[in-house]
């Protein structure tokens, strides 16, 4: 199992990314300790050069983790044939206790990385790098996530046992099973729809407020996160069902398959990107008063906010399109 090339590739990426983050952290510690923008000493010049390396390492970390996330899900799909009881990625993730935590960590790293990069971009526009100590300290918080992900993923693959019968999405996401997934699947579609609409309204309101007034970035980020979770709940609760045209198929991964025209990508990519950009708004919002950043703040915040609002809109539009255009009719049953 371990020798399957896709798995080896994933472990390679995780390991390399951990090494890159460790290296970046070593340099970051040096910067945090000795940085003095007003000094012209050779050490300061050396530290300034190191900031380029740290940024580069982090960009590649983020890009690699992003592609690895896609590879991970794709691979889980492809491996479903090797496990008894698995018919899609859900079954493969259920094979042992490490599968789902690995996915959650990968998603967390995606958001942490994107937020950091946005904050880094803002700081670089200030001629005295006002946030440099803060951002490198924050980066040091991402390091344990990355290392944990490496360990969790390694355990996940090492402990994969094809002899164990796993449960597939039908069992996991069914309303009569136990656990979080079941709770979500059991949620009445009406409730989750209201949740979706409510969070959507909140996101648009706070986003527009942030763009127009320049305040409330943190609120926007929090509401976006809430929308993100509501959206995932909504997908499992009813959107996926409309796509599958089956009243009991709740799986969030099967919509990525070719059989459904890859519509899952059209839902997840805008959703994830919109949330990431909104979190970025929240990350830069507290710093708008810093003088050296004031020129850069407004254009950046506008770009982030508008793009994330547009992507949220895209998500809601695609979801609505699929629900309304589906052959499944639940009028009278759910609504």
């Amino acid at each position: 199992m371990m020798l399957a090339p896709a798995i080896m590739a994933l472990i390679l990426v995780s390991g390399s990314v951990s090494l890159m983050m460790l290296l970046a952290s070593v340099f970051a510690l040096q910067v945090v300790r000795h940085w003095d923008i007003h000094s012209g000493s050779e050490r300061q010049l050396r530290l300034e050069r190191q900031t380029y390396l740290i940024s580069t390492l982090l960009v590649w970390t983020f890009v690699s983790e992003l592609i690895a996330l896609l590879l991970f899900i794709y691979n889980a799909e492809a491996m479903s044939g090797q496990f008894v009881g698995a018919m899609c990625a859900t079954g493969v993730l259920n094979v042992n206790d490490w599968g789902w935590p690995d996915l959650y960590l990968k998603i967390a790293i995606f958001f942490a990385g994107s937020t950091w990069l946005i904050l880094n971009h803002l700081d670089n526009q200030g001629y005295d790098y006002p946030l440099i100590r803060l951002k490198y300290r924050l980066m040091l918080l991402i390091l344990p996530l990355v290392l944990a992900e490496f360990v969790v993923q390694l355990n996940y693959f090492l402990q994969m046992d094809p002899a164990v019968i796993t449960s597939c999405c039908g069992a996991l996401f069914s309303a009569d099973a136990e656990g979080v997934a079941a709770e979500i699947s059991g949620l009445a579609p009406r409730t989750s729809l209201w949740l979706l609409i409510g969070s959507g309204a909140g996101v648009f309101a706070s986003g527009l407020h942030f763009v127009i007034r320049g305040r409330g970035g943190l609120l926007y980020a929090l509401l976006a996160l809430f929308s993100f979770i509501s959206a995932l709940v909504a997908i499992i609760s009813f959107i996926a069902l409309y796509i599958y045209e089956h009243p009991h198929h709740h799986c969030p991964f099967c919509i990525l398959k070719s059989g459904y025209d890859y519509v899952g990508y059209l839902l997840y990519i805008p959703l994830f990107t919109a949330t990431a950009l909104a979190l970025g708004c929240g990350a830069i919002a507290p710093w708008r008063h810093i003088s050296s950043l004031s020129a850069a703040f407004e254009p950046l915040s506008h770009r982030l906010a508008w793009s994330s609002l547009a992507l949220f809109l895209l998500f809601y539009a695609v979801a609505a399109w699929n629900v309304l255009g589906s052959n499944l009719v639940m009028q009278g049953v759910w609504w």
Binding site: G40, S41, E42, L45, Y127, D128
Partner: protein, 223 residues
């Protein structure tokens, strides 16, 4: 705008056994729209000082101001951005990139600023005209004579329309005729409103009539 230096110092290999203080406290003001010459033997620190004024490196201590703006404390990204608009460089060894054409060499400093291509090309060609080498535009650099290459170097220095031209030992590799020609070109630049700063240990330069001021350096200090 005038350039002000306040107790500028520069050290290399700080803290190590071969620590060297190339500039030991220079304080002076350079007036705009003048040709100023830094004179001194090799090792006197004139190239180092020139590099610091031109935002190519940072002083270890002290301040450099351009008008109201402090140049010395800027991190590299901003220093470079400022340098692009403000300074044009002519190097001792010209440092044109072989393998590129004349026009490509001239347009090179403008790439990070990303102007519209046809505008950039137009500026480059008008510079070629100004300095009398219009038909050499598409020739590879290697085909140019010494004098022509010198003019290309000047055009390159002017592509971003900088206020201040800096030339380091510009006549070191030129014969007397070309040197005199070069000094004439610098005079033209001054007449266009630019400030010119050159270093040299060639008497033909620092004794030239167009030089407005000579600053002599020895062992990192002004004498």
């Amino acid at each position: 705008m005038k350039i002000e230096l306040q107790n500028v110092k520069k050290a290399f290999n700080q803290g190590r056994s071969n620590e060297l203080w190339a500039i030991r406290g220079v304080t002076t003001t350079l007036e705009p729209n003048r040709i100023t010459c830094l004179k001194g033997a090799s090792g006197s620190g004139k190239t180092t000082l020139l590099a610091m004024i031109g935002c190519l490196s940072r002083p270890t201590s002290g301040r450099i101001m351009l008008g109201e703006r402090m140049l010395s404390g800027l991190p590299e990204r901003f220093m470079t951005e400022f340098r692009r608009h403000t300074f044009g460089f002519i190097f001792q060894r010209l440092n044109l990139i072989p393998g590129l054409s004349t026009l490509d060499n001239i347009m090179l400093p403008a790439y990070p600023l990303a102007p519209r291509h046809h505008q950039l090309l137009a500026s480059a060609q008008s510079l070629l005209e100004q300095f009398g080498i219009t038909d050499k535009g598409n020739n590879p650099i290697e085909w140019l004579s010494g004098g022509e290459a010198q003019r290309v170097a000047i055009c390159r220095a002017l592509i971003n329309n900088p206020q201040i031209i800096i030339a380091d030992e510009p006549t070191a590799n030129l014969d007397s005729r070309l040197s005199t020609e070069f000094m004439g070109l610098l005079e033209r630049l001054r007449d266009l409103g630019k400030t010119v700063l050159i270093t040299s240990h060639d008497p033909l330069v620092f004794d030239a009539p167009c030089i407005d001021r000579v600053i002599e350096l020895r062992d990192g200090e002004i004498v």
